[in-house]
Symmetry: C2
Subunit: 417 residues, 2 copies
Amino acid sequence: MQHGFFTIISRSEFEDKLRGFTPLEAETVDLAGCAERVLAQDMIAPHDWPLLNRSCMDGFAVNARDAFGSSETNPGYLECVASLPIDKLPDIVLNPGECARIATGGVLPEGADSVVMVEHTQAMEQQVVGGTIEIRKSAAPFDNVMQRGEDAREGAVALNAGTLLRPQEIGLAAALGFESLAVRRRARVGILSTGDELIEVGEIPRPGQVRDVNTHTVAALVEQADGLPTRYGIVKDDMVSLSHALKRAIEENDLVLLSGGSSIGVRDLTVQAIEAMDDSEIMAHGVAISPGKPTILGRVGQKPVLGLPGQVTSALVVVHVLVLPLIRHLHGDPGAFSPNRRCLRKAELARNVASKPGREDYVRIRLEEREGQPPLAHPVLGKSGLLRTIVQAHGLAAIPAESEGLYANDLIDVWIV
Amino acid sequence: MQHGFFTIISRSEFEDKLRGFTPLEAETVDLAGCAERVLAQDMIAPHDWPLLNRSCMDGFAVNARDAFGSSETNPGYLECVASLPIDKLPDIVLNPGECARIATGGVLPEGADSVVMVEHTQAMEQQVVGGTIEIRKSAAPFDNVMQRGEDAREGAVALNAGTLLRPQEIGLAAALGFESLAVRRRARVGILSTGDELIEVGEIPRPGQVRDVNTHTVAALVEQADGLPTRYGIVKDDMVSLSHALKRAIEENDLVLLSGGSSIGVRDLTVQAIEAMDDSEIMAHGVAISPGKPTILGRVGQKPVLGLPGQVTSALVVVHVLVLPLIRHLHGDPGAFSPNRRCLRKAELARNVASKPGREDYVRIRLEEREGQPPLAHPVLGKSGLLRTIVQAHGLAAIPAESEGLYANDLIDVWIV
């Protein structure tokens, strides 16, 4: 009836151990599959971008000196010598006193260094080209002009290795002609559930039996970090079955999550099954977060194996706090463990929440929206084996390990989950 | 050289028009594919959950009356009559003065209504079952017990239609035995780029030509809202080509995004091509946001068609502000247009930013992290045709239409994009 002996370590100590795992190798992926992936090599610009000075407005290409000082009350007048095609290099040279009609994206002709927006001009004759244009606004060099090399310089790093590729970075890669990129591989995550009381979702529970909630919850969480979950289903909680299933899952994945094992016996079994593998080690057994204390971190070869608490709320907190950052780390994201990766909302706590010092507490929070004020944050209390508490909650509030709690009306950060 | 005549409408007027489109129909999807989808029908619990009163701790099942008032200094003593199996209905009845060893998840026997954690007990003899247990903590009814029906009641709605299925809702569906769910279909989004200056990513640009950045940027954005993008590539900007491509894209998708068309001529062509379709209508032409003003909203049959600005930054802002909410709305998310769907960070503005009243301005923001203070928000200025400004930015700050700007040291919300 004794707890197995283990030393509880802090969240940051646990994270340090997770950081020790090596990010996954690179693979070459078509641009269409690169969004939200992490660049594995510096992306070097093969040429300047823009290639040449281009207009970013519809208007008239001018030499800024010719339009300098022009205004509504004191307009300038320039002769329009051409209408420039958008997709060709202009074959004209702009002389003093001349301008040329130019569309957004058009290349500036020699002699032009600025664009006056069409809204600030007036054609004096029916015929624009060959006619006179009234310029009603002063121009400075490079007004409304995207300059050659402003986005990228030939031979220079346009995006560093380790950059998380958002839509805008995908755009820059497209602009520079990359049809594919070297990005880090996505983590294959094997999910096993243990516990003799577990049955498959499609089965009818007898009293005492519960359906395998954690496999499905944890798999959905893994997808939030773009991991690739494989559901191995329920493993009988004996050493032979667990060792066999664990061995296979480790072979087929980059990370294994052993969900379930909330009872002391199963926890011990998880530890024994990890220790029985070749080249394995228990790296941590217990972390000072609540819920989530009995989390186990093991290593088999170079692959992490985590034993998650069996209570679904505890498992959810552990996955959010520790496992999704680990997956992002395996994906090569240098900010994987940064709280900046969290989506937080400021909210006003509705009532006091006590917390035991010495552990980081994650309180489920329901937000009540209010007009013109931060939302009210109601703690959702209830047993961590219940789903209701996390279904009713909009997020989690972390109470630091050194704190004895939070007070009503405190403005807190709610981590939307 | 005149702009086509159109009336600019506000963002909220534009959103009202988007809200008028009908969410997509339901489809039945395996539980493994339901995460981040929206429930199309109420999910009715087929039975109570938990099925019976269950322990959420390792410890001893007791009748709370027998343990009431027990403490470290004044412990109670109960006879342990059984060790309950986790996966079976207990076949014993607890009499006064008795307790039974129970594991997390175990079903409480008749006569028990509370669980005392193992940490607050001491077995007095070597043999637990048959021996005496010292109870060192008072118990109240349902302490450490998940009660029958606490998560869901037979025949009652466990999750409402319109619920966005997070990992925890997937867990509840699993607990209740749903192997599949009726969820709204994901939107198929056709993406077309227009502009004769455009070339494919794999081609080498001649002066004046640019690679098709928007297709790839917009497709990556669409995936952020779980839309299913189809890239139709570059369409020549003449009426025949555009009409032909638009017709096909409308047939094959639920939403069509016509990207490009930044120049006035192409905008007019987009309008004409939409109007030329059967049962079509231009619903809006211009929205009071910057960048993004020349956005076009059309309808062909019951399907929305949007003409996005050609400048990549403008297109990105319009997609974030208007298109991703539309996609979420088509997915059935009742909070699709709520700013609560945004991931915001509080930051301190580094310098004044002016804004024209009458339009909502979206300023690109680069965040500088600081220890123990909100990050400093640096506006990233630059032409909206450049990628650099959005690649350097961490997010957007919205300046309300009625405001003339923001001031240095203002605490602002930065929308992480």
